[in-house]
């Protein structure tokens, strides 16, 4: 019997650590034979965390979900006695299991399966076969790049630039007398709502290392750098161990696998700046400077890190590379659409029933991802929009749910593929508030001010037009890609939800009932049972009423904190 605890950041946040500790204690006490305890990274089913995978002696998987520390004893019993009926109550439902069944996993192929802290486990799952093949067969740089080209792999971090094109440019760029070129991995993953890069590093760090090695080989770089966000401490720990292990086994360092190819890898921890997701800003930051974007040209391929030719891709892009080399570019290209090949990972979150990481072939519709895999909206509410691509992307409404996942098709909606964040919103999310949220992120001060007054009910006629004008001016005038796309969330919300803007401005009304200045809390006298829970939570004593009789909110005292609504178990506290 093997017990594998899912210990990505999500799992740990949900309490996997306590489960692991308890299992470890029990095992240490009795020291039973035939029961192993191990860990794995995130399998993407965040909504079911913590997850324990129990493999029986036949190797069959029994997935136990929403496991708490108190369940550890039961699991231990089951594992030691072989009586798996003990854990029947923890088993994943057939419906939830479909979450994984409907996916095609390439970048996430090992995530949630292997032990991320074990290079042997990676090797056992076919790891380092690609770099071994390249070096052993003496594949030329061009042959390798050709395979990537055939695969049609495009950058998975945002703009979707063809990877082979970038690699060729960096390979062809003339290095100075030192001959130094750099291969950089953008693991800054700054787009809120996207966490697949974290999951890959935490769950399968060697696949990133292998992808980077192949990239470095193709462009002739002898040094690779992974720029990881400071907010991902676990990823840094696991990647550091993976680099040490790979170096110890000769997959990194001088004369890798006995070839002429030498390459080292190191980690740079970011220090928290959204703009550093932009490649030239990232390079500035790598050099220890303020992360301000550089003017292009020159492009990093000509003059990047320390002005040497450099190539930058993100984690997910590199994570696809080894699979393509092993299985062939054609196999990858067989999935997806004409100009968007292969698969893409999405991070599903928001008001979705089954939130987590999803990898699907390009060409899948948004509806399939959100409803078939994600299970649709939770709590029986209506789907309103999905935010794609973070602060550079946009909000796509219900009418566009049949759009297929394809760089061009998604761009046509006004959103972008981006790094794959999919934040789902229901009827209770104010779209003006959403637009404002993203401007807070990208620090577009003047637009932020306009939207702030709109959500406060102080919008003026002409504000929508003023916003649009600023959006176009920023698109025209911005220095970097992030700046040019920063207006997208505003433009798409205006495009699809103009009526909500107008309701805020003309009627001082928030249709979603979310904008504090525009709403009133009240208690439905028919639903209130007089439990006093709300009154006890009210910080300003605005709620009055006798025990067991309906309560009332004094709107002149109410500060609209929402505590009462959260506290009410009868749905009696409402908003208008």
């Amino acid at each position: 019997m093997r017990l594998i605890v899912g210990e990505g950041s999500c799992g740990l946040a949900a309490g996997a650590g306590a489960v692991h500790t308890r299992l470890q204690e029990l095992l240490a006490e009795a020291n039973p034979t035939g029961v192993e305890l191990g860990i794995t990274g995130c399998n993407g089913m965040c909504f079911l965390e913590p997850i324990v995978d129990l493999y029986d002696d036949e190797g069959a998987l029994h997935r136990l979900v929403k496991v708490q520390a108190k369940d550890a004893d039961k699991i231990y019993q089951a594992a030691t006695t072989g009586d798996l009926s003990l854990v029947d109550g923890l088993r994943i439902s057939a419906e939830d299991a479909e979450f994984l069944d409907k996916q095609t996993r390439i970048a996430l192929r090992d995530c949630g399966i292997i032990d991320p802290e074990s290079i042997d486990d990676y090797l056992a799952h076919g790891g380092y076969q690609a770099i071994t093949k390249i070096l052993a067969e003496g594949m030329s740089q061009e042959n390798v790049i050709h395979e990537i080209d055939v695969a049609g792999l495009r950058g998975r971090g945002g703009a979707g630039f063809p990877t082979a094109f970038k690699w060729r440019a960096a390979r062809d760029a003339k290095a100075d007398e030192t001959g130094q070129k750099y291969l950089i991995c953008n693991a800054d993953e700054g787009d809120p709502g996207a966490f697949m890069d974290r999951a890959v590093i935490e769950g399968d760090p060697h696949s990133l290392i292998e992808g980077m090695l192949i990239g470095a080989y193709c462009i002739g770089a002898s040094e690779g750098i992974v720029y990881v966000r400071a907010e991902y401490p676990l990823a840094i720990i696991r990647l550091r161990k993976a680099i040490e292990d790979a170096t110890a086994r000769g997959y990194l360092g001088d004369n890798i696998l006995g070839s002429d190819f030498s390459c080292t890898l190191r980690i740079k921890a970011g220090a928290g700046a959204f703009v550093c997701g932009e490649e030239t800003a990232l390079i500035e930051s790598l050099e220890g400077k303020r992360g301000m974007p550089r003017l292009k040209p020159p492009f990093p391929a000509q003059a990047g890190y320390w002005l040497k030719p450099s190539n930058i891709n993100n984690v997910e892009t590199y994570a696809n590379v080894a699979w393509i080399i092993v299985n062939g570019g054609a196999a990858y290209a067989a999935m997806g659409t004409e100009n968007s090949r292969g698969t893409k990972v999405f991070a599903l979150s928001g008001k979705i029933r089954r939130g987590g990481l999803v990898e699907v072939p390009m060409g899948t519709t948004l509806r399939e991802v959100i409803f078939d895999i994600g299970g649709g909206i939770r709590n029986g509410k209506e789907f309103k929009a999905v935010q794609l691509g973070g602060p550079s992307g946009g909000c796509v409404p219900a009418s566009k749910l049949d759009t297929i996942i394809d760089y061009a098709e998604l761009s046509a909606t006004g959103a972008i593929m981006g790094s794959g964040g999919m934040v789902v919103m229901d009827e209770s999310t104010c779209m003006v508030g959403m637009a404002r949220f993203f401007l807070d992120f990208t620090a577009k001060e003047r637009m932020l001010e306009i939207l702030s007054r709109v959500v406060d009910g102080k919008g003026e006629e002409g504000d929508i037009e003023k916003l649009e004008e600023l959006c176009y001016a920023i698109k025209d005038g911005a220095l970097c890609g992030l700046g040019q796309t920063a207006p997208n969330p505003v433009l798409t919300t205006i495009r699809y939800f103009r009526d909500e803007f107008e309701a805020h401005i003309a009627e001082h009304r928030c249709p979603a009932g979310e904008c504090r200045e525009l709403i009133t809390y009240y208690i439905d006298q028919d639903k209130c049972v007089g439990c006093t829970a709300c009154a006890r939570q009210c910080p300003v004593q605005a709620i009055s009423g006798e025990r067991k009789s309906p309560h009332k909110i004094d709107p002149t005292l109410c500060i609209k904190c929402g505590n009462c609504k959260t506290a009410c178990r009868f749905g009696a506290v409402q908003v208008r």
Partner: protein, 166 residues
């Protein structure tokens, strides 16, 4: 910022010994310095300037650019409240209000007893468990205002106990 006690500069000697000559290490040096002091004391930055030959203007410029760096000391528990999209959609604003209500501090502030600091941070990448906060490396997920308050109270109690036994 001149009122602070002089810092024990020997704490960062090892960092400077290994990084002072390595170009592009400023952020790493500052990260280690912050790890040593909990924040970036001005005298430490001046010392870094002296040892590395980097102008103080450049150092403070970098220190103020990145959200991670702090020029003032923080509390024993640093609450990093996620401001990601999913957390926003799932009510991180209510969590922020609950923390402010419980501790009387807002983004960027520290409680007078020096126990808690609150910092709004960019996405922590736990979107499917939103809203989340991270306190001294531990992530708390699927928060409600109530749950957030309970976490804070238990940390305060833990600290009081630790203080008594120490």
């Amino acid at each position: 910022m001149s009122k602070q006690k002089p810092s024990d500069l020997s704490l960062i000697e090892p960092v400077l010994d290994s990084y002072a000559e390595v170009p592009g290490s400023l952020i790493a040096i500052l990260q280690e310095t912050q790890a040593a002091y909990g924040y970036l004391p001005m005298d430490a930055m001046e010392y870094i300037a002296k040892r590395t030959g980097t102008p103080i203007a450049t150092i403070v410029g970098v220190a103020t650019f990145y959200a991670q760096f702090r020029l003032e000391p923080v509390g024993k528990y640093l609450i990093m409240l996620c401001q990601g999209t999913a957390c926003h959609v799932n009510g991180s604003e209510l969590i922020s209000a609950a923390i402010s209500d419980e501790l009387g501090i807002h983004d960027g502030e520290t409680t007078p007893d020096g126990l808690f600091s609150l910092e709004h941070v960019a996405c922590l990448g736990c979107c499917s468990l939103s809203p989340v906060m991270m306190i001294n490396g531990t992530t708390y997920s699927s928060l409600t205002p109530d749950k957030a308050k309970k976490v804070l109270r238990s940390l305060a109690a833990e600290s009081a106990e630790g203080g008594a036994s120490a």
